[in-house]
């Protein structure tokens, strides 16, 4: 942390399609940022207001974390799908014979898909090839794409979490023909379930152009009105990402609002372990914060209609205020303020969810440390101060009805924010 005499502060900003909110957190104390009588218009004025509020209190704004998930979700649900023509490529042994299986079960996702293709190929869960990649089909695919309009591609192969080579081969082939094509591969996300992985990849691919422009606008605004302040983007699991990564992996930013509301409510209540009941139009929902981090799952996001493989707050229907069990908290503050507080107090996180086959205890240790290492690296890439990333949750469970020794490993890593000098925005493929 910067040892300058004025103390540091962090700000959280919630961007909506229409309107915004912001909050300042100084020394653990939170206060809303007034956005002017007309409400702020555009990220620039919100950030400027946050900066002014900080100066008025005599503090330096170290970091501002922006929740853009509402903007992204709005585009997914209501935006013009054809604005970013996206093609979905499935690499499985056989194409679906029933059209229902050939689509995403969620209408919200399917409408973003302009074209669908199946290329024969794929591996099993443990990485054994089930079907060789059909090169003829691949060639035809490239030709069709070249002549078409889709310039965003989501490629998902069965078993690619264990063995991504088919996805890579398809991606390389397409890239050779269409150098400007933007590709999201399922193996970039990990997780379980083809439908979930495909939906995540499609959303990611479709959202990239929008995410890039939002992040660019934010970065420019920060450079203009908040020089010296670091910019972060809120993640769906209650953590945050570096702006460059958020532009590459916008799917990871989805669901941030719910998670931030939980995170902020816990902070305002001064509790690290608490169950919270949040108000929603469809009824109350409950979520959990443990050790300061939101409890997450690869679950369905409300409104989307299908599971995703990015971790989001595990929310459950709550019977209602009358049935609240002891220890639960129903926050009373303005939800927007709570979200901003949560964003301001978020930490860089990462999450891995994988399947492996273990033959011995030593091998389990080896696999576990390797997964931890990778998760730590990702958390650091997400903005954790090097050396502070540590495992907060690790679970290894046997996978039923599978070859003996098959286990599912889930690890979650969190770190301390590194808000020293702003890092160079680097374009990366992960």
């Amino acid at each position: 942390m910067d040892p300058r005499s004025p103390p540091g502060a962090s700000a959280g900003v919630l961007l909506r399609p229409r309107g915004a909110a912001a909050a300042l957190v100084v020394d653990g104390r939170a206060a809303p940022v007034a956005l002017g009588p007309a409400g702020a218009s555009g990220p620039r004025s919100v950030l400027a207001a946050a900066g002014a509020a900080a100066r008025a209190q005599g503090v330096l704004l170290d970091v501002v974390t922006v929740d853009v998930s509402a903007v992204l979700l709005d585009a997914v649900l209501h935006g013009d799908a054809a604005a970013y023509p996206t093609a979905a490529v499935r690499i499985v042994p056989r194409p679906a014979s029933d059209p229902a299986l050939g689509r995403s079960p969620a209408a919200a996702v399917e409408r973003l898909v302009a074209q669908r293709f199946t290329v024969s190929g794929g591996h099993d869960l443990l990485g054994h090839e089930l079907c060789p990649l059909d090169r003829d089909q691949l060639a035809r695919l490239c030709e069709t794409l070249r002549r078409g309009e889709a310039r965003h591609l989501a490629i998902v192969a069965a078993g690619s979490q264990a063995q991504p080579e088919h996805e890579r081969a398809v991606a390389d082939a397409v890239q050779a023909v269409l150098p400007g094509c933007d590709i999201t591969a399922g193996s970039e996300f990990g997780g379980q379930g083809l439908a979930a992985r495909e939906a995540t990849a499609v959303l990611n691919s479709w959202l990239r152009p929008l995410a890039r422009s939002v992040v660019d606008e934010l970065e420019q605004a920060v450079a203009d009105v908040l020089p010296g302040t670091a910019l972060r983007v809120a993640r769906g699991d209650g953590g945050h990402l570096l702006p460059a990564r958020a532009a590459e992996l916008p799917a990871a930013a989805l669901g941030a609002t719910d998670a931030m509301e939980l995170r902020g409510a816990a902070h305002l209540a001064g509790r690290d372990d608490v169950r919270l009941v949040l108000r929603r139009r469809s009824g109350a929902v409950s979520g959990h914060v443990r050790r300061g981090l939101v409890v997450v799952r690869s679950a369905q996001l409300p409104d989307i209609g299908v599971e995703l493989v990015v971790p989001t707050a595990a929310l459950a229907h709550h019977p209602g205020a009358a049935d609240r069990t002891e220890g639960e908290l129903a926050p009373r503050e303005d939800p927007d303020l709570t979200v901003c507080v949560g964003a301001a107090t978020s930490r860089p996180t990462s999450w891995l969810d994988e399947v492996a086959v273990i033959g011995s205890a030593a091998e389990l240790d080896r696999v576990r440390s390797e997964v931890e290492r990778r998760a730590t690296a990702i958390a650091t890439a997400n903005g954790a101060r090097p050396g502070t990333a540590h495992v907060v949750d690790l679970s290894v469970v046997a996978v039923p009805y599978s070859p003996s020794g098959t286990v599912r490993i889930r690890v979650r890593v969190a770190g301390e924010p590194d808000t020293g000098a702003r890092p160079e925005p680097a374009r990366s493929t992960r």
Partner: protein, 365 residues
């Protein structure tokens, strides 16, 4: 909330209840396949019309019938979903071998995602679904069925995989079928649609557990309507005969779930729950592929073939075994399996001893 549709059919709108009920009879199934499976089957039922759910007594005894299930791992199923024709193809391959036509289908196990298999086949083949199954829950091996106990052969059977490949198995003694099948299922991609136990409805009248499919749907409807854990358990009790062993907080997930406790990973996991009321006992729940035993302060109070479920109290829904966390408040429910599973021969096959728990079933003592 009424029971099964009065005219005995399964419609598109019943599909979510089917999934929930399926979870009750095997808590090991996660939600990885929920959306795509329910979405597909609902659309299938919309397109092809409702599937007729008929008790064995209501069909002529000579009606040919074959059972369906999904064999293998739910993980593999979620990672490589069916193309859609696997179930019908499996039935047709057996039919071709036996030079016959199957006029009805029935579930090998009315539980877990397997309960969808006969519904899909019935919808695609346009035949009725017999309201009877061979297990009343899930068991690990395909010869753990009432049909086998009644002398019905499981083979010839066909396992049709998502790769388009299929395996046909014919054995002389039933237990061999599972052994011959297992390695093939892994090679096929980790799961397969299985058509087995070709027989007649007349045989099913005495060789199968009747009414289990409609019971499953009823359980699903109760679970979907759940708002309050106590009320939910009351309603479930009326349908399944389940009772609550205890309510407590999870204090430990042992073996695989705690990194420091691992010896050999094929050893199963255990869940430790401290009761919050009553006698405040320590409940120990032993898991293999599903719950096989519950010990209260070291005393065996429930064991396979009893069906054991964990209910997440605050959410008033079933807790899936792969998402348990220390601190969760859960109710431990136990429902009895069909009576015939408690005979000495059946207990030897599916009771606690078969899972390595060398204690006598509490029902026996």
């Amino acid at each position: 909330m009424s029971g099964v549709d009065p005219d005995g059919s399964i419609r598109a709108e019943d599909v979510t209840a089917l999934y929930e009920g399926a979870k009750f009879y095997s808590p090991a199934v996660g939600d990885a396949s929920r959306t795509w499976l329910t979405s597909w089957v609902a659309e299938l039922l919309d397109r092809n019309g409702p599937v007729a759910l008929v008790r064995p007594e209501a069909l002529p005894p000579s009606t040919t019938a074959i059972s369906l299930c999904i064999i293998g791992s739910g993980f593999a199923l979620a990672d490589l979903p069916p193309a859609g024709d696997e179930f019908a193809l499996a039935v047709e391959r057996v039919a071709r071998l036996q030079r016959t036509r199957f006029e009805a289908v029935y579930p090998l196990a009315a539980a877990t995602v397997s309960s969808f298999a006969p519904v899909i086949a019935a919808a695609q083949l346009g035949v009725p679904l017999v309201d009877a199954d061979g297990m009343g829950r899930t068991y690990a091996l395909i010869h753990h069925t009432t049909m086998h106990l009644a002398g019905v052969a499981p083979t010839p059977l066909v396992a049709q995989g998502p790769t388009g490949e299929s395996v046909l198995v014919d054995v002389l003694t039933a237990p061999r079928a599972d052994r011959v099948l297992r390695a093939n299922v892994d090679t096929l991609g980790g799961w397969a649609a299985l058509a087995a136990y070709p027989t007649t409805v007349g045989t099913l009248r005495h060789a199968a557990l009747t009414g289990t499919m409609s019971r499953l749907l009823e359980v699903g409807r109760v679970l979907l309507g759940g708002n309050d854990a106590d009320l939910l358990e009351q309603r479930l009790g009326a349908v399944t005969g389940c009772r609550r062993i205890g309510r407590g907080r999870i204090t430990g997930l042992e073996h695989l779930s705690r990194p420091t406790d691992v010896t050999i990973p094929t050893h199963p996991s255990s869940v430790v729950v401290d009761e919050v009321d009553g006698r405040r006992r320590q409940l120990r729940i032993e898991l293999r592929s599903e719950v096989v035993a519950v010990l209260a302060d070291g005393e065996l109070v429930a064991a396979a073939p009893d069906v054991v479920n964990l209910v997440d109290v605050s959410r008033a829904e079933l807790a899936t075994l792969d998402s348990l966390e220390p601190g969760d408040l859960v109710d431990v429910l136990v429902s009895p399996a069909g009576d015939l599973w408690y005979s000495p021969e059946a207990l030897a096959m599916v009771g606690p001893h078969s899972h390595g728990i060398t204690l006598d079933h509490p029902g026996r003592r």
